[in-house]
Amino acid sequence: MNFKDRYAIVGIGYTPQGRFVDRTAMSFHVEASANAIMDAGLDRKDIDGLMCYRQFSPKPGEEEVTPYDVAERLGLTPTMLSQEANCARSHLHHALGALEAGLCKYVVLSYADTSLLGTNSAFQYYDDKAVFGQLATVGEYALAAQRAMHTQGTGPETWRKIAVSQRKWAHLNPAAIMHQRPMTDKDYDDAPYIVEPFRLPDCCLMNDGGRACVITSVERARDLKHPVVAITGLGQHNSSRDIQTSTIMDGPSGAKISGETAFRMAGIAKEDVDACQIYDCFTYTVELTLQDYGFFGPGEGKDWFDHGRIAPGGSLPVNTSGGLLSEGYFMGLTPLSEAVMQLMGRCGKRQLGPETGTRTPEIILCSDNGGVFQTHATAILRRL
């Protein structure tokens, strides 16, 4: 089945992002979804599909977020409800499948969390490896990054360029949590280790907030208020290997096949990509994803990221909102929403084009990644 240019993302919903002691994850889901629906110029009665990203364990006093509870608070009675249980990043495939099957006309995809206040967040959990002190996602990605240091010679010299470049983008985004918090190379080098080889700036933010988008057909999108941003390429590949048994932690990860699939559907080459929005739970994730997408060979990132290539004014901007590292953590919706807003031309001071000394974008490549390189999805968006 070929979805090329048949479905579009027509609305984005933002919420306050940062630390909010008086808010629940549920309230962020509801606010983000309502904002996305209104941003698209739609009415709640139009929405017949609601999909939620996984929900981390609620903080004390909060109820578990379920898609039907979110739907109730949005006044929805959808044809389709779903929520991933863990980090399988199949949302766009599911959404487009439901649209293609005629099950739905307008699907909302939502993520929200109150992670700063949570007791069992993404960075702190217990599984069978906890008896060895393997207690946090950062520890597992650190294992992967260390392996890549050994086999490919990557390391902090590469990751520093990613972290510093993305922070520069965050300076152009007033909503970014790290807005007006500059970071120099020395700041990076002086930052404390969390789990070596990762320092604090290698790790994404943890924050409260929500993000949502609305997906429909390109035909319906043409009747709505924003420029049409179509999904022109879609891919997915899931190594499904825990860090304990993984032999792909230094690549090629699922990004390779996922990316090839998406580029094939889009009928474009990587040279046609104007910008990338890459899921950046850690700096190394950006490196490995772009490497597996074919932008450079194993270990060549050290040079590839030079000369501000991905920073404002660079030849291939990456994570132009600041990303998960410097804007805010909304799982795959941080990259996806930024790609949509850039292609719609709604990004203000960070808008790609003359404003930032970059190419005016027509095609933006997005990634989503779950587990520790266990799942991967690619979406290539194009302004029609």
Partner: protein, 142 residues
């Protein structure tokens, strides 16, 4: 016993992993080896992921391997680990094939490196559990 140590997470026993931890208590590191195709698997599972045979036996590991990768915790994500910082988690590639997430002990974190030869040591955490950990084959390993 150190009261903090007692509060560390303990293995969560279920019907799949119970044999593994029962053997560990006897200081035997054992993995399932498929009787049909010979694949040695870990973690424990009801069938072989390669040939789907359910027939397996628990083979005894020699406890020899190399560090596939490692990481050094500088932050305690659980209060019971605060006194142990920095500590080393690692994936050890056993000579029998399986990879095992574990700890490297008996040397400084900076002395650990990928491909380092390591050997099994047991850490008894209470009367019920023993953890398979690894130390350098030679203290002056590098």
């Amino acid at each position: 016993m150190n009261p903090l140590a007692a509060s560390k997470p303990l293995p969560r026993i279920n019907p799949d992993n119970q044999p593994f931890w029962d053997y560990c208590r006897r200081h035997e590191l054992r993995f399932q080896k498929c009787l049909a195709c010979g694949h040695t698997r870990f973690p424990a599972s009801i069938l072989c992921p390669r040939c789907y045979s359910r027939e397996a036996r628990w083979i005894l590991s020699e406890g020899q391997g190399t560090v596939y990768t490692y990481a050094v915790y500088h932050k305690a994500f659980h209060p019971a680990y605060a006194d142990e910082l920095p500590y080393v988690t690692a994936v050890v590639a056993l000579s029998e094939g399986p990879h095992l997430l574990t700890n490297i002990v008996g040397c400084l974190p900076k002395e650990v490196y990928c491909d380092m030869p390591v050997t099994l040591v047991w850490e008894d955490i209470d009367g019920s559990f023993s953890l398979p950990k690894f130390k350098p084959v030679r203290q002056d390993a590098r």
